[in-house]
């Protein structure tokens, strides 16, 4: 029996692990291999092994600019996650209020941003919302008799604009996850608590939150990584070629993109990717620790 339990779980995991090996592990290993070669425009097919030279050069990419980008990324991730979980929780709670008859309608409407493909959302916001000449936000300001605001021009306001868009795109998932989690809370707990005279907020804090935390934790962790890795929003809103807005906002990924990937030197950029991966692993260890301490 014991023998059986040692291997059985792994049998269950084999299909998933195989798939993950092909799609995630192999590419990482391959990136590691390329990082040891001189594959670039001039050695596109006839590249050879050059040892750790690329890493020596890649380390120079992790300069003060990178540290600033890392700082931005951490602030970005923490703020986004805090707001996402906080707002998502209250909205889900509101949706589950007894007697809210239009719940399904509200929920479907709130899910709409989720249904819009990401890059379409970004384009829509860049042109439809933030644009100085045609953007709805500026038209609204003009209606109030205020002057034009360039929402993407300087770092501070561009950061907030990017965050607004990220929240718009990411909240639906948080809301539906928390909403799903709320369904699993055993209602009898509330009944006894209500009998004990606990108010709504006390019940929420002492029953709901602890009950749903283990359920949403994995989703929260996964979303944290997605937020950390977020590239499209900041890149497409402020730095796309032909659309630079003046903001010099960088996350670690956009920084690496700007400094290593534009050169078409696959060896070098692979080395940067591998080092970036190490940074992300360190970050994930930190996240894990802080999660456990909670």
């Amino acid at each position: 029996m014991r023998q059986k339990l040692r291997w059985k779980p792994w049998f269950y995991c084999v299909p998933a692990l195989l798939l993950i090996f092909i799609v995630i592990v192999f590419p990482i290993a391959y990136t590691g291999y390329i990082s040891l070669t001189n594959m670039n425009l001039y050695h596109w097919t006839d590249y050879g092994f050059i040892g750790f030279d690329n890493y020596a050069r890649a380390l120079f990419k992790f300069d003060s600019g990178f540290l600033a980008a890392l700082g931005t990324t951490l602030v970005w991730t923490v703020l986004n996650m805090a707001i996402q979980i906080g707002l998502g929780f209250f909205i889900a709670l509101g949706l589950n209020a007894p007697g809210l008859r239009l719940k399904r309608v509200y929920k479907t409407l709130l899910m709409v941003p989720w249904a819009v493909p990401a890059y379409i959302s970004i384009l829509l916001w860049r042109v439809g919302m933030f644009n100085t000449e045609f953007g709805i936000l500026n038209k609204f300001l003009a209606m109030l008799g205020l002057g034009k605001v360039d929402f993407l021009a300087s770092n501070g306001i561009a950061f907030l604009s990017c965050m607004a868009l990220n929240l718009w795109m990411a909240l639906p998932f948080m809301i539906s996850t928390i909403d799903g989690a709320l369904q699993s809370v055993d209602g009898s707990l509330y009944e006894s608590a209500t009998l004990d005279g606990a108010g709504f907020w006390v019940r929420t804090w002492s029953i709901t939150v602890p009950a749903i935390r283990p359920i949403i934790a994995p989703a929260a962790v996964m979303t944290t990584f997605i937020t950390f890795k977020q590239f499209d929003i900041i890149y497409l809103l402020t730095q796309q070629r032909g659309y630079m807005t003046g903001a010099t906002l960088n996350t670690v990924i956009t920084y690496a993109h700007q400094n290593a990937f534009a050169s078409n030197n696959y060896g070098l950029s692979s080395a940067v990717s591998m080092l970036l991966f190490v940074v992300i692993i360190l970050f994930s260890i930190l996240t894990n620790r802080s999660l456990r301490e909670d």
Partner: protein, 280 residues
């Protein structure tokens, strides 16, 4: 009576808050919707209005009949269903194992999976190209299905494992006494109980596949075999060929199936657990 009055007031307030929230959320979408019904010249305009200028259905006609929209739709459906099936077939047993049994290497495996998932996949493009070429699946939908399923697998395992953890073991043990096998138990007991998590996971996979365009346009060579997102990306990628009205019309049409899915699944979002246990 006062209590009821208070409740009504509270509900009214809540409704007002939700209506406002929905409106704010929908502003960009309403804007796109109004463009999609506008004549070509009026696409971007200086006036603040959510009513289309010279209302027309021409954009919808153009996207439905001049472009292989229905073909893309079919491809998207196929890719989505394939990916959901493959990723769930792989992830459900793994999530179940990780949730139910404490085996050597379990914690390490979960941790490693999480870290692996942190690798930005955009950087894997070249390696994935090699994988597909080696397996001769470049330019096929099955190649894309494997990539999509693999990309979502870690997420699916983690997301479902969290929910499986909350399902009391006693329920399973009861059925085990009745002689049910593991597979039977997963299908008959665990999956129904974990319905919200399964649905959210499937929806997440669906959305990822539905919206993915980079791999689709890179690994498929024939635009006839593109998914909707890939096809739309190609339509608007070039500034000089971008037509906002047609593009927004296409976006609205592309989002519609997902919206229908969202609306349809809501009533299944209630866990079997609470449905049986709590609601009268």
């Amino acid at each position: 009576m006062t209590r009821k009055g208070k409740n009504t007031a509270r509900l009214a307030l809540l409704n007002a808050a939700f209506i406002l929230l929905c409106l704010v959320t929908l502003v960009p979408v309403l804007y796109a919707l109004s463009i999609s019904f506008s004549g070509q010249g009026a696409a971007l305009s200086g006036d603040l209005s959510f009513l289309p200028k010279d209302p027309t259905l021409e954009n919808y006609r153009a996207i439905l009949f001049d472009k292989p929209f229905l073909l893309w739709l079919k491809n998207s459906l196929f890719l989505s269903i394939g990916t959901i099936a493959l990723s769930m077939l792989c992830a459900v047993p793994a999530a179940y194992a990780a949730s139910r049994w404490r085996f050597a290497g379990r914690r390490g495996m979960l941790r490693v999976l999480l870290v692996l998932n942190a690798f930005p996949q955009v950087l894997s493009m070249f390696a994935l190209f090699r994988v597909l070429r080696l397996t001769n699946t470049l330019n096929t939908h099955s190649g894309l299905v494997i990539i999509y399923a693999g990309s979502m697998c870690v997420f699916a395992i983690w997301n479902m494992k969290g929910y499986f953890d909350t399902i009391p073991r006693e329920i399973e043990e009861a059925s085990r006494i009745d002689g049910a096998s593991d597979l039977q138990m997963i299908v008959r007991i665990v999956l129904p109980l974990a319905r919200p998590a399964i649905i959210v996971t499937c929806v997440m996979v669906l959305i990822t596949v539905w919206n993915e365009y980079l791999f689709a346009t890179t690994f498929l060579l024939d635009s006839q075999s593109y998914s909707l997102a890939g096809g739309l990306y190609q339509l608007q990628s070039n500034d000089y060929s971008r037509n906002w009205s047609v593009f927004t019309a296409a976006s609205m049409l592309a989002s519609l199936p997902l919206l229908l899915v969202f609306f349809k699944i809501q009533k299944y979002m209630v866990s079997g657990l609470t449905a049986g246990g709590v609601k009268e």
